[in-house]
C-alpha cells in the first residue's frame, strides 16, 4: 500500500501537517485547533449538515464546512473571524427557533447537550427569529430509550451510527424541508420496530436530548460523572464498558471507545440489560428463606457438608472470573463431582478451547463470512454488528448455516437455517464463495453437531480450493461468557444437568450462579432438574438475584455483581480483560471467590 501523500496547510497562521484525503477538520483537530461542530462525529461519514464547522479558505469567497472538505496542500484556512462567528450564531439561533428546545425540562441540560453548549459558548442570550413552536411527537415505546423530536436538530448522527456502526439502518429521515423528521423503520415506533436491536448506540451519538436513555434520565449529567472502565461479562466477546457513576450509583453505561474489542460499541445486553432492568438483589445470606448472618450461613453449610465426598457436588455458571475459576479448581477435590453448566452443544466447543487473536477486527475485514451454528444477533450483538457492517458496507458475502432464523438472515446471500446436503444448495454456496480471499467462519455450539461438522468440512474444502490452501479465519463463538477460560482452568462442562445430578445420589449441592441475570432460574427449565433438586438434603445457591432457584435453596449466599467485582475474564480472542469495581458492594454480598474460599478452603 502506498503511504498517503503528506500535505501542509495553514490554519489561523499556524502551519499544520496532514495527509492527502484528510478533511480540514481532521487536520485542525490533530493540531489542537478548535472548530465547533454538532453533526460531526469521529468514526462516522461526514455529513456537513449543521454548518457550525464552517471555515474560510483563502481565495474562496464562500465558507466551506471543514468536516466535509478535504484539505488541499498549501491552502490557508481561517476558523474564526467576525463573519464566521456571526454565521455560526445565526445558524444556532435558527436551530433554537426551529423546535421546542426547552432546556429546563430536558435531562441533557447542564452540560450534556451539544446544542446548549454551543449556544452558551457563542454568547447567545436571545433569538432574533420567531420561535416556531411546532407540535412534535415523543416516542417512548422503546424499552430502554425514547426519542423526543422537540429536541432534535437533524444532525443525523443517530442515523449514521445505526447504519455504519450497528449496521441495521433502522433510523432515517422522512419528509422534506421544515417537516424533516427522524423516523424509525418506515415511520413506526421504537416499540414496534422489527429492525431495531436496542443497542442504544444512537442515544450515545445524539448531541442533544432528542434520543435519551430512560434509565439514565435525570440520574445525573454524564459530563460531570466519574467514568470507570470495566468489562462486560454477559458473553465471551468481553466488550469494554465505560460506566458513568455518581455518588456510588450508575448513571449510564457506554462502550469504551478505546477498547480494542468493541471500539465503543455495545449490544443491548451490556448497554442496558445488566442495570436498566428491575431485579431483586439478594443482599444478605438466607437460611430457608430467612435473613441470616454470614457466620450462621457458613456454619449451616459446614454442618450440612459433613457427608461423604461422593455425595457432594459443585455446579458453576460458566461466567465467573478467572480468579474464581481457579478457586473452584482448587476446592474441586472436596466434591464428588464439579462441573459448569453450559448450553446445548457447548461442551464440545469448550472441550478444546480455542481463542482467535484480534478476531473482531479481522472479522470486519473478511470478504466472506460464514455463520455456522451460532446466534450472534441473540447472543453476541457486537459480533452481529461487525458482520452486518462487513456485509452491508464492504460487500462481504454472508452465508448462514444451521442456525435459528434471525434478523441476520436478510443480509445473507445464503441462509440455510436447516442444512440440506443437496447439491443445489452447495452449488449456490460455491458460487457465493467464489473469489473469497479473506474468509471467516464464525462457529457456535451447533457447529459441533454431526451435521455442523460436515458443513464445516465442506466449507473449509471450498475455501482451500479458492485460496490455494490457506485456511479461513475460524472464530469460535460460545454463548457462555467465560466458559473457554473456565474449561482451560480444568472445570468440565456439562450440557444436561439432569443426568449429571442423577448419576450419583447427592446429599449436598452447591450451585454458583454468580451474577447471572436470571438468578439461575434457567436451570429449572430443564426437565427433571426441579424434581432432582428436591431430593437433595442441602442445596446451597450462591447468587446475586432472587429467582425460583434461590427460593428452593436451603442456604442462599449473596454474590457480588459485575459492577462490584475485581478480577479478570478471558474473551474469545484470548485477551485477559479486567473487571474494576464501579460501585461499592451492595449489602453483605461477597465476591464468588471469597465465598468459596471461606466455605471450603
Amino acid at each position: 500500500m502506498i503511504a498517503p501523500k503528506k500535505i501542509s496547510i495553514t490554519i489561523n497562521g499556524q502551519v499544520c501537517e496532514g495527509e492527502q484525503g484528510q478533511t480540514i477538520l481532521e487536520i485542525a483537530r490533530a493540531n489542537n485547533i478548535y472548530i465547533p461542530t454538532l453533526c460531526y462525529m469521529k468514526g462516522l461519514t461526514p455529513w456537513g449538515g449543521c454548518r457550525l464547522c464552517i471555515v474560510e479558505v483563502e481565495g474562496n469567497p464562500k465558507v466551506v464546512p471543514s468536516c466535509a472538505t478535504p484539505a488541499v496542500d498549501g491552502t490557508k484556512i481561517t476558523t474564526h473571524n467576525d463573519r464566521l462567528v456571526a454565521l455560526r450564531k445565526a445558524t444556532l439561533e435558527l436551530l433554537f427557533s426551529e423546535r421546542n428546545h426547552i432546556c429546563p425540562i430536558c435531562p441533557y441540560n447542564k452540560g450534556d447537550c451539544g446544542l446548549q453548549h454551543q449556544g452558551l459558548a457563542h454568547g447567545i442570550t436571545g433569538i432574533r427569529y420567531p420561535y416556531l413552536y411546532p407540535a412534535l411527537p415523543v416516542d417512548v415505546t422503546g424499552r430502554y430509550f425514547g426519542i423526543d423530536h422537540n429536541r432534535c436538530i437533524l444532525c443525523t448522527r443517530c442515523i449514521r451510527t445505526c447504519d455504519e456502526i450497528e449496521g441495521v439502518h433502522t433510523l432515517d429521515v422522512s419528509s422534506r424541508g421544515i417537516k424533516n423528521q427522524i423516523v424509525v423503520d418506515m415511520n413506526t415506533t421504537f416499540g414496534a420496530s422489527d429492525t431495531c436491536t436496542q443497542c442504544g448506540a444512537c442515544v450515545v451519538s445524539c448531541p442533544t436530548g432528542a434520543l435519551f436513555d430512560k434509565a439514565a434520565a435525570f440520574r445525573g449529567q454524564w459530563t460531570s460523572s466519574v467514568q470507570i472502565l470495566t468489562t462486560c461479562t454477559e458473553c465471551p466477546v468481553g466488550c469494554g464498558l465505560k460506566v458513568h457513576t455518581k455518588e456510588n450509583r450508575i448513571v449510564n453505561v457506554w462502550g469504551d471507545p478505546d477498547s480494542p474489542v468493541n471500539t465503543g460499541h455495545l449490544c443491548v445486553k451490556g448497554r442496558y440489560q445488566t442495570w436498566a432492568e428491575p431485579r431483586d438483589r439478594i443482599t444478605t445470606p438466607l437460611i430457608k428463606g430467612q435473613p441470616a448472618t454470614w457466620d450462621e450461613a457458613l456454619a449451616a453449610i459446614k454442618k450440612a457438608a459433613k457427608v461423604k465426598k461422593a455425595e457432594k457436588a459443585l455446579l458453576v455458571a460458566p461466567r465467573v472470573t478467572n480468579e474464581t475459576a481457579a478457586a473452584i479448581a482448587g476446592v474441586a477435590g472436596k466434591f464428588g463431582q464439579t462441573a459448569m453448566f453450559v448450553g446445548a452443544n457447548e461442551a464440545a466447543l469448550c472441550a478444546e478451547p480455542s481463542f482467535t487473536g484480534d478476531a473482531l477486527r479481522k472479522l470486519q475485514d473478511a470478504d466472506a463470512i460464514i455463520v455456522l451454528g451460532a446466534q450472534p444477533t441473540r447472543d453476541n450483538g457486537v459480533v452481529a454488528s461487525r458482520i452486518r457492517v462487513a456485509v452491508r458496507k464492504r460487500g462481504a458475502k454472508l452465508l448462514i448455516f444451521h442456525a435459528r432464523k434471525s434478523e441476520l438472515d436478510r443480509h445473507a446471500d445464503v441462509a440455510a437455517n436447516v442444512v440440506s446436503l443437496e447439491s443445489k444448495l452447495w452449488n449456490k454456496v460455491k458460487a457465493a464463495l467464489a473469489g473469497a480471499q479473506r474468509p471467516a467462519i464464525v462457529y457456535g455450539p451447533n457447529a459441533m453437531t454431526p451435521i455442523g461438522v460436515t458443513v464445516m468440512e465442506r466449507l473449509i474444502a471450498i475455501f482451500e480450493a479458492n485460496t490455494g490452501g490457506s485456511e479461513p479465519l475460524l472464530i469460535g463463538l460460545p454463548v457462555s461468557a467465560n466458559a473457554l477460560a473456565m474449561s482451560r482452568a480444568g472445570i468440565p462442562a456439562v450440557e444436561e444437568v439432569g443426568p449429571w445430578l442423577d448419576a450419583k445420589p447427592l446429599k449436598f449441592l452447591h450451585i454458583v450462579v454468580g451474577d447471572a441475570l436470571d438468578g439461575g432460574a434457567g436451570l429449572l427449565e430443564e426437565k427433571y432438574v426441579p424434581a432432582l433438586l428436591e431430593r437433595i438434603d442441602c442445596l446451597v445457591v450462591q447468587a446475586s438475584y432472587k429467582s425460583a432457584l434461590t427460593d428452593k435453596a436451603s442456604v442462599v449466599l449473596p454474590a457480588t455483581i459485575w459492577c462490584e467485582k475485581t478480577g479478570t475474564v478471558t474473551n474469545l480472542e484470548g485477551r485477559e480483560l479486567p473487571l474494576r469495581p464501579v460501585v461499592t458492594v451492595a449489602g453483605e454480598a461477597r465476591d464468588d471467590k471469597a465465598i468459596l474460599e471461606s466455605v471450603y478452603a
Binding site: 430536558c106 452558551l120 436571545g126 433569538i127
Partner: protein, 172 residues
C-alpha cells in the same frame, strides 16, 4: 414585573443576598410584586426587569405600558426570553388547553372554564417578550444565577450594556 413565570427569577434576584443592601443604595425599587402599586399607577423608570412570558391580555397591556415607561427593558429568565415551560401549550389549540385544565383533570368535580369578564383572556399562544415589545437585554436561565443578575445590574449601573458569556450564563 412578574408575568407568566414561577417567580423563581425573583427568588434568584433575592439570592444576591446581602448585596441587595448595596443595590438599594443606588436604585429605588418602584414597582414589583412586593411593592403595592397598581398597574395604572406604574411609574416611569430607568430599568424595567420582566420575569415570565406574555400569556394573557392583561400581561400584554402591562408589558406594553412598561415598555413605554422604561428606558432599558430586560427580559429576565427563560420564560421571558424563550417562552420556556409556559410555551409548551403553544403546540396545542387554546380550547384544548383550557378543556384539559378545567374539564378533564383527575380532580375535576364541576367542569367549568372560567368566563368571568374580570378574568383576563388567555392569548392563543404564550409569547416571549420580544414578540410583543422591543427587548434591550436578554438574561436567559431557569433561573439565571444570582451572580449573573448581579453582574448585569452592576454593569448597567456603571453605564455599560452587560455582555453575558459562557461563564456567567445558563439556559437551565
Amino acid at each position: 414585573m412578574w408575568l407568566s413565570g414561577c417567580s423563581g427569577c425573583h427568588m434568584s434576584l433575592l439570592d444576591i443576598d446581602e448585596r441587595i443592601l448595596e443595590l438599594v443604595k443606588h436604585v429605588d425599587i418602584l414597582f414589583s410584586p412586593i411593592v403595592d402599586i397598581k398597574v395604572k399607577d406604574m411609574p416611569y423608570v430607568d430599568v424595567g426587569i420582566v420575569e415570565g412570558c406574555v400569556n394573557n391580555t392583561d400581561q400584554e397591556h402591562e408589558l406594553k405600558m412598561l415598555r413605554e415607561r422604561c428606558k432599558v427593558l430586560i427580559a429576565l429568565g427563560d420564560c421571558a426570553v424563550t417562552g420556556n415551560v409556559p410555551s409548551l401549550r403553544n403546540q396545542f389549540a387554546l380550547k384544548d388547553c383550557l378543556s384539559r385544565a378545567y374539564e378533564q383533570t383527575e380532580s375535576t368535580k364541576i367542569a367549568c372554564i372560567p368566563n368571568d369578564p374580570v378574568v383576563p383572556k388567555l392569548l392563543p399562544k404564550a409569547h416571549p417578550l420580544q414578540e410583543i415589545v422591543k427587548v434591550d437585554l436578554h438574561i436567559p436561565g431557569c433561573p439565571p444565577d444570582a451572580d449573573c443578575i448581579w453582574f448585569a445590574l452592576t454593569e448597567l449601573l456603571a453605564g455599560r450594556i452587560p455582555q453575558l458569556n459562557e461563564k456567567n450564563m445558563r439556559y437551565d
